[in-house]
Symmetry: C2
Subunit: 199 residues, 2 copies
């Protein structure tokens, strides 16, 4: 145990995700040794994010205004919505430049063990958008894991009853990967989703 302020900092750092006690200690000592100006910038960045950053009124993406850049952009296709779990997924998808529609951030995935049910996610707001906006297709881009799949299944069932086109991102072999290292489930999906090359 350290004295007062150092231990306090180690405790606070240790509450961040992916930071164990050893990393917290290492970062705390880095902060101790670092340039005071740099560390003031770090503390300010935390404060400013909490003060200024909000969630888009339409899609729940992070933004410093009422609505996010993407929802404000008239060049984006407003007939198609890509549903993601988190704001950071939007950045990942935007980087690929394969999608020019709009987004909807659920704020997580259905996880009964973790106590996250559909009512904790921004699903009701998605339904409201379907009434207000002229949407023709919903692409479900939740993570290809247990929770993401459960969420996709839940959404697909609900949206089908409304009568809207619902698609899911393809699962299969990663491009540039090696067949030998593919796991069984992924390889199974790659077979299921196989595409015709000729004709």
């Amino acid at each position: 145990m350290y004295q007062g302020a150092v231990q306090e900092l180690i405790d606070e750092l240790g509450r961040l995700p992916g930071i164990g006690p050893k990393s917290a200690q290492r970062i705390a000592f880095h902060i101790l040794d670092a340039d005071p100006e740099d560390m003031k910038r770090l503390a300010d960045a935390i404060r400013i994010v909490k003060d200024k950053v909000k969630f888009c009124k339409i899609c729940f993406n992070v933004t410093e205004q009422e609505t996010c850049n993407i929802c404000q952009d008239p060049r984006r296709d407003e007939t198609i919505i890509c549903v993601v779990e988190e704001s950071k997924d939007i950045v990942t998808i935007e980087r690929t430049r394969s999608f020019r529609g709009r987004y909807h951030v659920l704020g997580g995935a259905i996880n009964p063990i973790g106590g996250v049910g559909p009512e904790q996610l921004h699903i009701r707001e998605l339904i409201t958008r379907l009434g207000d906006e002229k949407i023709q297709e919903i692409i479900i881009a939740t993570d290809p894991n247990l929770e993401g799949e459960a969420t996709a299944t839940y959404l697909a069932r609900m949206l089908k009853s409304i009568g809207i086109k619902v698609t899911r991102l393809a699962s299969g072999l990663p491009v540039g990967g090696d067949l030998e290292y593919a796991d069984d489930v992924t390889l199974g999906r790659a077979f299921e989703g196989r595409r015709s090359l000729v004709g």
Copy 2:
């Protein structure tokens, strides 16, 4: 890339040791979602550490006063100094309760590639202590790696010429470990440092 404040926070977090771009992003989104009071405490902890924590005038351990708890404690043996690289090594050694003397923090180890020479470490201050205090033994507890060994060798040579008893922590097999998994160098050291059990 994110907008303004979020990207700024990701950048600042990414400058911390052991935090890559993915972790920085993950922590930034955690900060966004977290309770504002908790995040205020984190920002304050950083600020307070930079404002209040100093280095002990005698041994360079971290402290919120002029001298650290250990240097102030009259029950500590003042004839023996344990030389460590960093303040955090003191915490590790204190936890074992195997040492009741005082410490001296070098502030790193000699590392020619990283541009750290003896003059960047608190070696001069250690020599001054040898003149002022009634020290009989110096235990060198730098890390058992390349830089730590180089520092130990440098210190041992210098201190021997002054005519003081210099010792080094034993290297050998970790207790509770398995001979099979010991690396060659450690096993070699264990042989060199073998101790007589009978007689």
